[in-house]
Each structure stands twice: as structure tokens, then as C-alpha cells.
């Protein structure tokens, strides 16, 4: 479990985090959303014990981080934005080093290394120098080093940045699988990623908490931008085909759908629309619409 209470962090020139509170329950994956420089990395660094907060508390499984650095650090696995790895070591040497850093028992280390290498598919580069492995492998190595000591809390700072689409899907699958054993926070710019992977999202901007949203809140609507949609359609056939849809209306070229309950997979609806010869330009899952509303509303208020 992760708890953040009234957290503030000031640097010499800027107030990076201002009075943020949120809570992630055990076994959940939460996303951390916000524009660049919003304070996502700073908050994550406070949770890992890398930075101390000026005010407030960060707690891992109920234990205050700043007062119990050694014990909370052991419970946390952390993947920084730039994968921390020594180019002059091999993958194997590096993983052993990290396991030792996390004070793992000697006899458990070999087993743990085998486990993470299998989990992150690093077998092919196990004996290679880190400076010679590709970006995708490097990112997987970053995840491997974060989970080697079986942390109860996993903090991932932009885990899919700079990867190709196939690799992104692979990493997302991996993150989903951590749910059984850990509580996860991940930051991302990609809204679709949060929608697909996370149970909830914390939206921050300029160090301030803008909103906390759960899957239930964003999973109940969908916006589909179409090309050349003719008006006048009452969409009753669509509602009949998908009883989950409570309301469907078109605003210009945008088809807005609302659901009776959280919808996790909208592929069938899309397929149905395509069969009806509706050309789809863009799909905005609920979170995207909400995010834009929150961020834009704030900008409107500020100006």
C-alpha cells in the first residue's frame, strides 16, 4: 500500500510538489499523469527515499519513508526514467550487484536472478555487456533490477518511453502481471497506456493534485471521432446490439457513448461501427476526455 499525505517538496527555485495526498491500495496499479515538470518524478523520488519531503509524509505499507529509510527501501523497487545500469558490466554481473545492494541472502540470489531473467526475457543477452544491448533489452533490464528483490511496492517512471509498439505492449503485459505480488505506481504521458493498465490515476500539474480518478469513473464513457458521419442516426441499433450502452449521441463528427458500467474492452463496438461503414479517425477513451477537461479547465481558470 502506498500513502501520500499532504506532501510538499521545495527546491531552491521552485516548489516542485505542493500539498499532494493520495492512496493506492495493495495489489492495485495506479497511473501518475501530468504534463512535463508537474512533479511526478519528484513525488516518486520521495516515495523511494531518494529525496526527503519538506512537509507531509510518504508511507509504504503504513511505514513512514523518511523515518525508516532502510526498511522502506527494501520494500520498494524503482525504475527511474533513465535505466540505471553500468555499461561496463554484463547483464548477469549487474543483476547480481543489484541483488547484493538490496541485501539479499547469498543463497537466494541465484534463484532470484533466474526468476527475473525468465520473467523479463533477458536470456539472450545474459552474458553481454550492458553497453552493447539494445534499447528494448535495456528497458527490460531496468524492470528486472527493480523486481529482483521481490518488492511489495513498485515505482516505475515512464517505463515504456522510447520503445517501439511491440515492446510497449510487452512491457505493459509485464506490468499487469506484477499486480499479483505488488502495488504499482507508474508515470506516463500516454493516456491509452494508463487506460489499459491502471486501476486508477492521479493527475497532477505544477506540483498540485488536480484529480484522482478510478477506472470506474473513466471506464463509463467513450468518444469516437469519425469522418463524414451523416447526422440523423438515432443509434438505436447500436444500443440494441450493446445493451451496456446507456446513451449514444452524435455531436458533429463525434459520437459520444456512455455506459451503464465500466467497460474494459471497446473493440467489439469499434468493429460493429466499421461494419456499418463508419470511418473512424480517433478513439478517445474516457480518461482522455476527462484529462483534457481537467487540464484545460485549469488553464481556463488561470487565464
Amino acid at each position: 500500500m502506498i500513502q501520500v499525505e499532504n506532501l510538499s517538496k521545495n527546491f531552491a527555485q521552485v516548489q516542485a510538489v505542493r500539498d499532494i495526498s493520495f492512496r493506492v491500495e495493495k495489489g492495485k496499479i495506479w497511473g501518475f499523469l501530468g504534463p512535463n515538470g508537474a512533479g511526478k518524478t519528484t513525488t516518486m523520488r520521495i516515495l523511494t527515499g531518494y529525496l526527503p519531503p519538506n512537509e507531509g509524509q510518504a508511507r509504504i505499507n503504513g511505514i513512514d519513508v523518511s523515518g525508516n529509510l532502510k526498511s522502506t527501501k527494501k520494500m520498494v523497487g524503482y525504475l527511474p526514467e533513465m535505466v540505471p545500469a553500468y555499461g561496463d558490466l554484463t547483464v548477469k554481473e549487474f543483476l547480481r550487484f543489484v541483488a547484493e545492494l538490496y541485501c539479499m541472502e547469498r543463497k537466494k540470489i541465484n534463484f532470484a536472478m533466474e526468476r527475473v531473467v525468465e520473467k523479463t526475457n533477458l536470456q539472450n543477452v545474459y552474458g553481454r555487456l550492458i553497453k552493447n544491448i539494445s534499447r528494448g533489452y535495456r528497458q527490460r533490464l531496468g524492470i528486472a533490477q527493480a523486481i529482483i528483490h521481490e518488492p511489495q511496492v513498485l515505482i516505475l517512471d515512464e517505463p515504456t518511453i522510447g520503445l517501439d509498439p511491440a515492446q510497449i505492449i510487452e512491457i505493459r503485459e509485464m506490468i499487469r502481471s506484477f499486480k499479483d505480488s505488488a502495488t504499482v505506481i507508474l508515470s506516463s504521458h500516454i493516456l491509452a497506456e494508463i487506460t489499459q493498465v491502471c486501476d486508477g490515476a492521479v493527475i497532477i500539474k505544477e506540483g498540485r493534485l488536480m484529480a484522482t480518478l478510478t477506472r470506474d469513473e473513466w471506464g463509463k464513457n467513450l468518444e469516437i471521432v469519425t469522418a463524414g458521419m451523416t447526422g440523423g442516426n438515432d443509434w438505436s441499433d447500436l444500443r440494441q446490439a450493446f445493451p451496456i450502452i446507456s446513451e449514444a449521441r452524435a455531436e458533429g463528427q463525434v459520437l459520444k457513448l456512455e455506459f451503464r458500467e465500466t467497460l474494459n474492452d471497446y473493440n467489439k463496438i469499434i468493429k460493429y461501427l466499421i461494419e456499418k461503414d463508419i470511418r473512424i479517425r480517433e478513439i478517445k477513451a474516457g480518461l482522455e476526455a476527462l484529462y483534457m477537461k481537467i487540464i484545460l479547465a485549469e488553464e481556463g481558470r488561470a487565464s
Binding site: 524503482y78 540505471p84 553500468y86 561496463d88 558490466l89 554481473e93 550487484f97 547484493e100
Partner: protein
Amino acid sequence: MRNIWTITKKELKSFLYSPIAYILTAFFLLVSGFFFYNILAWANDQTMRMMQSGQGMNRININQMLFEPFFNNMTIILMFLLPMLTMRLFADEKKMRTEELLLTSPVRISAIIIGKYLAALIIYTIILLLTATYAIFVFANGNPELAPLLTAYLGLFLLGAVFIAIGLFASALTENQVIAAVISFSSIILIWVISWVGESGPGAWRGILTYLSFFSHFKNMVSGVIDTQDIVYYLTFIFLGLYLTRSIFEFRKWR
């Protein structure tokens, strides 16, 4: 203790996998070998003359003629060499962003500092031991005294240990290795020559500045005299260097 060794082991690997340690060792041996050869030739010449003239024969002392000037010269080489050995210790961690891994791990920052310090010290000791070949050569061809030689080596070891502590501190200040080397090199030089300022100053200052300088403490040991005061001086300096390095990390957290 295990944590310190984890860091030391990793640092040693990095040293040995990169060409820096080998190149530094090779050049150190080349330059110190050149000095040794020259001093040996000079000592040989002096001895010949004394034997011919028959004067000063009772003053011939291999330790004084050969090792003293040799060790004095080695300190100059160390001043250049050790900053290059220590410059990457923390600067590189920062540049490669691996510092975040170390500082979010449960290992204490003091263990990280000591671990890195020990690794550099081990490499330095190996380089120092390699120069013992010169001494072996002298022992095979003459009969110098062993005790003063060992004292001089202890002095050189402690002096290098201080240089490494200064270099470690400098490396924690920046993410640029060249800047780290420049800072440690200039600090070493300044502390070395600080006694010069003292010589022209008033009495109390002269005492303090002369005490602070490496120079006055190294002189005794190179001539074979162990004074606990000198050893305390070196150990204090090492402790101070490591302590200040730790303070940098504490300071940076709040910046």
C-alpha cells in the same frame, strides 16, 4: 560490512574492465622507472667520486642517496596520477544516472563512500607494490636498510590515501570527470605548498600552515622516522575527506 564489500567489488570490476587502471599503472611505472634510473645513475656517480677521493666514505648511505630522492619524486607523480584514478568514482555515477540506483537501495551512503574509497585504495596499493621491484633490484645488488624503506613506503601509502580521499570528495562535487580531476589536483597542490605562505608569515601562522601542509609530514617518514603525530595527521585528513563527501550528499537532498 557486506554492503561495503559489494560496492568495493563492483568498483574494482569497473576499474579492471576499463583501460584506465592499466594505462595509469603503465605510465606510473614508466615515469617512476625513469626517475629511479636517473637517481640510481646519479648515486652511482657520487659514490664513485667519493671512493676515488677517499672523502666522505663514512657518509655513504644507500637509503639516503637513492630512496629519499626517489620517494620525493614519486609523490609528484602521485599528485598527477591519483586524481585521474579517483575522478570517475562519483562523477560517472551521476553522469550515467546510476547514482539513483545506489541512493534508493538500502545501502547507507557512508557504506557507498567507504566502498568506493577502498576500491581506489586497493588499486593504488597494487601500483605501489609494483614499484617494489626497484627496491628488490637494490637489495639484490647492495645492502640498504629495510626498516627506513618500509617506513617510507608507509608514508607514501598514507599520502596517497589522503590524495584519494580528496579525489573522492572532488568527484562527488560534479558529474564531469575532468572537473573532478582538476579540483582534486589543485587542492592537493595547494595543501602541499601551503607551508610556503607560512614561512614568511608571523609565528603562529607559520606553525599552523606548516602543520597543515603534506610536505612537512612526508619529510619525516621518507627519511625513515615514524611520528604518531604524522600518522594522526594523515588519518584525520582521510576521515575529513570522507566525511565531507558524505555531507555533499546530505546537502544535495535539500537543494
